[in-house]
């Protein structure tokens, strides 16, 4: 035990006497803080933006309620977009879909800057509408990449480890007194292991202190405790991976420079070259989708539906939504084109859902391919794992799109049900609608 303590103590002295290593560590800590702060800023910004939208929605609901009261008192005539009809009442029911940021976002911005996180959902919406585009950002900054905790940890911590470790054992070889050390009562393996252990503990401590602090600031312990634990364990595993690789490099290395070259080459291969190859090959096999199928639906096929006569539309609607047969309007033998026209979004939604499913399937094929290559591309796999923990990966946004679709479906069902049952919307009915979409 005493030997271990002595080794740790001498390693600490070695570290303190090396300004290069100390500066590197300070820079690393600075980058970690900067990264976490970036994450925290985005988390706060998104939370604030969502709250602004919600307040605006509340105001709009209040305005509508006043309008209902005025119509019901007879002090105001019904406007052209008659709010007593279910269609316009539901149209005026604020129903934003939000992707609430996870507090874990502090640790990984992931793909959050490539997608929108709120959307005003109407019965005409789809999951690929252009208003679902990402926040406005400088594309060159996005290309350079955002400095978040995930990036600093995944890409820069191996570099810090290289700086801390490249001359551990190597220096003794450079100065040609390595054998003198191993003559003493400790094996090369154990000595190197203990010296590595010191730096492992050091890096883990730095990371955990910062994680702990930002987890407190962002309320992660309260909201995402299990994901945080998972992040802690992933960090340990990832560091172990690099420490093990570097251990073998140092163990068999011929000196500090040789170690440094091998270590940095390994970093370059795992962090830049292999992900780059996977990215390029994926792009060749699965090129960018120009979304022409979706564009066709939003113009051509939608147009064809609008061209149909009211009776054909009615047949189509009853075909797609058989439960409409039990409504008041279905019992009528006369065609009411106003009711039918207000139901058309139901048919368009089916087209949208079909094409969205096709697009999502092709995206999933691409993802499966990327995941298949995780075995040779562990750094990307790890980065996506952290993104998943922070709900900022592709699947978190896929889930958001599904949520949007469920709101669209709900809206359409409500429009169809109440329009076909000839419901006259009052203030109370409107409030019920509002509650349904809160």
């Amino acid at each position: 035990m005493n030997t271990y303590f002595e080794i740790f103590k001498s390693e600490l002295t070695h570290l303190v006497r090396s300004p290069f290593k100390l500066v590197s560590q300070s820079l690393f800590v600075f980058a970690l803080i900067y990264g976490c702060q970036n994450g925290l800023d985005l988390f706060n910004k998104q939370t604030k933006e969502i709250s602004i939208i919600k307040n605006k929605n509340k105001e709009s609901v209040q305005k509508m309620i006043l309008q209902y009261e005025a119509i019901e008192n007879g002090t105001q005539e019904k406007p052209r977009r008659d709010p007593t009809s279910p269609y316009w009442a539901i149209w005026n029911t604020p129903s934003h879909a939000f992707k609430y940021p996870s507090s874990m976002m502090v640790f990984s911005l992931g793909q959050s800057e490539q997608y929108g996180y709120y959307k005003r959902v109407t019965n005409w919406s789809s999951t690929f509408d252009s208003d679902l585009a990402e926040e406005i950002a400088n594309p060159e900054r996005l290309a350079i990449g955002t400095l978040d905790f995930n990036f600093v940890f995944t890409y820069l911590s191996p570099i810090l480890i290289i700086i801390l470790l490249f001359n551990i054992g190597g220096l003794e070889r450079d100065l040609k007194f390595a054998n003198l050390i191993y003559l003493q009562s400790i094996s090369k393996r154990s000595l190197l292991f203990l010296r590595f252990l010191f730096y492992f503990v050091l890096v883990v401590l730095i990371l955990f202190i910062l994680l702990f602090f930002y987890a407190l600031v962002a309320d992660v312990f309260k909201n995402e405790f299990f994901n945080l634990i998972s992040l802690f364990s992933s960090i340990i595993l990832y560091l172990l991976f690099w420490f093990t690789a570097f251990y073998f490099i140092n163990y068999y290395g011929r000196g500090s420079s040789d170690n440094a070259i091998k270590m940095i080459s390994l970093w370059l291969a795992l962090c830049i070259v292999i992900p780059g190859i996977v990215h390029q090959v994926t792009a060749i096999i699965y090129p960018v989708n120009y979304m022409t199928d979706y564009l066709d639906v939003s113009r051509e096929q939608r147009g064809k539906i609008f061209d149909l006569s009211s009776d054909s539309l009615e047949v189509e609607l009853v075909d797609e939504f058989p439960w409409l047969k039990n409504t008041l309007y279905a019992a009528d033998s006369t065609i009411n084109s106003s009711i039918v026209n207000r139901s058309v979004s139901g048919l368009v939604n089916i087209l949208n859902k079909n094409v969205a499913s096709k697009i999502e399937t092709s995206n999933e094929d691409k993802n499966k391919f990327i995941k298949k290559l995780n075995i040779i591309n562990p750094v990307t796999a790890f980065q996506n794992h952290i993104n998943a923990l922070a709900s900022t990966d592709y699947y978190a946004y896929l889930h958001f799109r599904n949520h949007i679709q469920s709101i669209i479906d709900k809206k359409i069902r409500l429009i169809l049900e109440d329009t076909w049952n000839k419901v006259l919307v009052s203030k109370d009915t409107y409030i019920e609608y509002v509650n349904k979409f809160q």
Binding site: N38, I52, G110, E140, L156, G276, N289, Y290
Partner: protein, 467 residues
């Protein structure tokens, strides 16, 4: 000096690891250029198919009211320059499709990165990735020991006693390493030219790429040699130059890239949209007949044609209203999109300034710019697609106003020949001479570094420092 360079190269070529690495790099670069070209062509073909598909739909339109056609609209698909195969710049991040329709200037959507899981933080393995990250690192590996080894073995004293100037020796060693990087660069560019149809414009762009990378390699090899000459041993030299490389390529670009966005913040989408909506509502709403401005316009047109009511007008007033509304909308878009573009330009300028601290930032900016894949080129595409949209909508509104229909006649249509006569959207990457002004600052920063490091070697390296 030439003798020293030749001697250095003899030494390089005697090293099996060097020869093996050279073969490996050359092969990798050729494969990467080839794959990049394949990927580019494949994507370009998909884009052409998509653009043709949309054009065919437009040309097949049946008789339709021009305003309905304005709502039907068209799409512009962002084209790829040939040099996208070398450096894809911002193309993977930006959207690829923009809807061009009446009443609104849309934003470009459907980026590649939004269609799958995240893969690489440093982009696809294109030649730029190897030229920017891998080769400079290899140059560092070659250079870090070039003088420190001579010092460690005391051979340098022998050279000095033979009358070799330390400064010349340092320059010669640095140049011999630079030549190596430059040769790899030339191989890449020549192969790039061979596998793609290269015209004068592309040749000019490739020349500028060679100059930018050439400068950067000179800076890297000189800095590494300088450290090798001045620091006491191989390990110190290597660790110092690696630290600088990490700062330049990984640390500073991200820190500064994020900071410039904080210094010149962009509006949130929500604010951007609501501000435009507010400004827009102040103008004529083409669908709102109660608007005051509409009344003013009506009076003006009636007076112009000397009639007392809209039904007596020989033209369709609705078309005029809609065009006026578009023109008002254009002012609103110009104000808000213009403000965003202005902020983006300020951010870019500020980022480019960091080149004086970090030459890698200048290299990246120049590389994207000369490959036609940076933000400047992206904004150019957006502006041209918007110009097309305005022209398209004006053509449709003019047909509506002056094509023979009367006010309120929304059932009036134009035939298919009319739609065929409207030209489709085409985009040609701007000539580099039109855009070169944006990259002077990158060149200046690289030049500054070149001069700085040359001066450092010339005036700081001397016998006392090295021996």
């Amino acid at each position: 000096m030439i003798d020293i360079i030749i001697n250095e190269w003899r030494m390089f070529l005697r090293d099996k690891l060097f020869v093996f690495s050279t073969v490996f790099f050359t092969f990798s670069l050729l494969v990467v250029v080839f794959l990049g070209t394949i990927q580019n062509r494949k994507q370009q073909n998909y884009r052409i198919e998509a653009q043709e598909h949309v054009r065919n739909q437009w040309e097949s339109l049946e008789a339709m009211n021009p305003h309905s056609a304005a709502h039907y609209g068209s799409y512009a698909f962002k084209p790829l320059s040939v040099l996208n195969s070398m450096d894809s710049g911002v193309n993977d991040l930006t959207g690829n499709v923009i809807k061009l329709e009446g009443h609104v200037q849309n934003e470009i959507v459907y980026s590649e990165v939004s269609q799958a899981l995240s893969v690489s933080k440093f982009g696809k393995l294109k030649s730029s990735l190897i030229l920017q990250y891998v080769i400079p690192l290899f140059l560092i590996f070659l250079a870090y020991g070039t003088l420190s080894s001579e010092k460690e073995t005391q051979r340098i004293k022998l050279l000095v006693f033979q009358g070799v100037s330390i400064t010349k020796l340092t320059f010669a060693k640095s140049l011999s390493i630079w030549i190596y990087g430059f040769l790899l660069l030339l191989i890449t560019v020549v192969f790039q030219s061979l596998v793609n149809a290269i015209d004068l414009e592309l040749s000019l762009r490739l020349m500028l790429i060679i100059v930018s990378y050439g400068f950067y390699y000179y800076i890297i090899s000189s800095v590494a040699t300088y450290f090798s000459a001045t620091l006491k041993n191989n390990t110190s030299a290597l660790s110092s130059i690696l630290a600088i490389w990490i700062m330049w390529t990984i640390f500073l670009p991200k820190i500064w890239g994020n900071t410039v966005e904080k210094i010149h913040p962009l509006p949130s989408r929500q604010n951007f949209k609501s501000n435009m909506k507010e400004d827009r509502s102040k103008g004529i709403d083409g669908h709102n007949p109660r608007d005051k401005r509409r009344e003013d316009l009506k009076e003006k047109i009636l007076a112009e044609y000397g009639v007392d009511s809209l039904k007596n007008l020989p033209i369709n007033f609705d078309g005029i209203v809609m065009q006026k509304d578009e023109e008002y909308g254009d002012k609103v878009w110009d104000k808000h999109f213009g403000s965003n573009y202005n902020i983006l330009s300020k951010q870019k300028f500020l980022y480019q300034l960091s080149g004086f601290l970090n030459p890698f930032a200048s290299l990246q900016s120049a590389s994207m710019g000369f490959c036609g894949t940076d933000m400047i080129h992206h904004l150019d595409f957006l502006r041209k697609s918007e110009d097309y949209r305005r022209n398209l909508i004006k053509t449709l509104n003019d047909a509506h106003a002056y094509g023979g229909s009367k006010t309120g006649d929304w059932g009036w249509t134009v035939d298919n020949d009319f739609f065929k006569s409207v030209e489709g959207f085409t985009y040609v990457t701007p000539k580099i001479k039109e855009k070169i002004k944006y990259y002077f600052i990158d060149f200046s920063a690289l030049l500054f570094w070149g001069i700085f490091i040359t001066a450092l070697i010339r005036f700081r390296i001397n016998k006392n420092l090295v021996l």
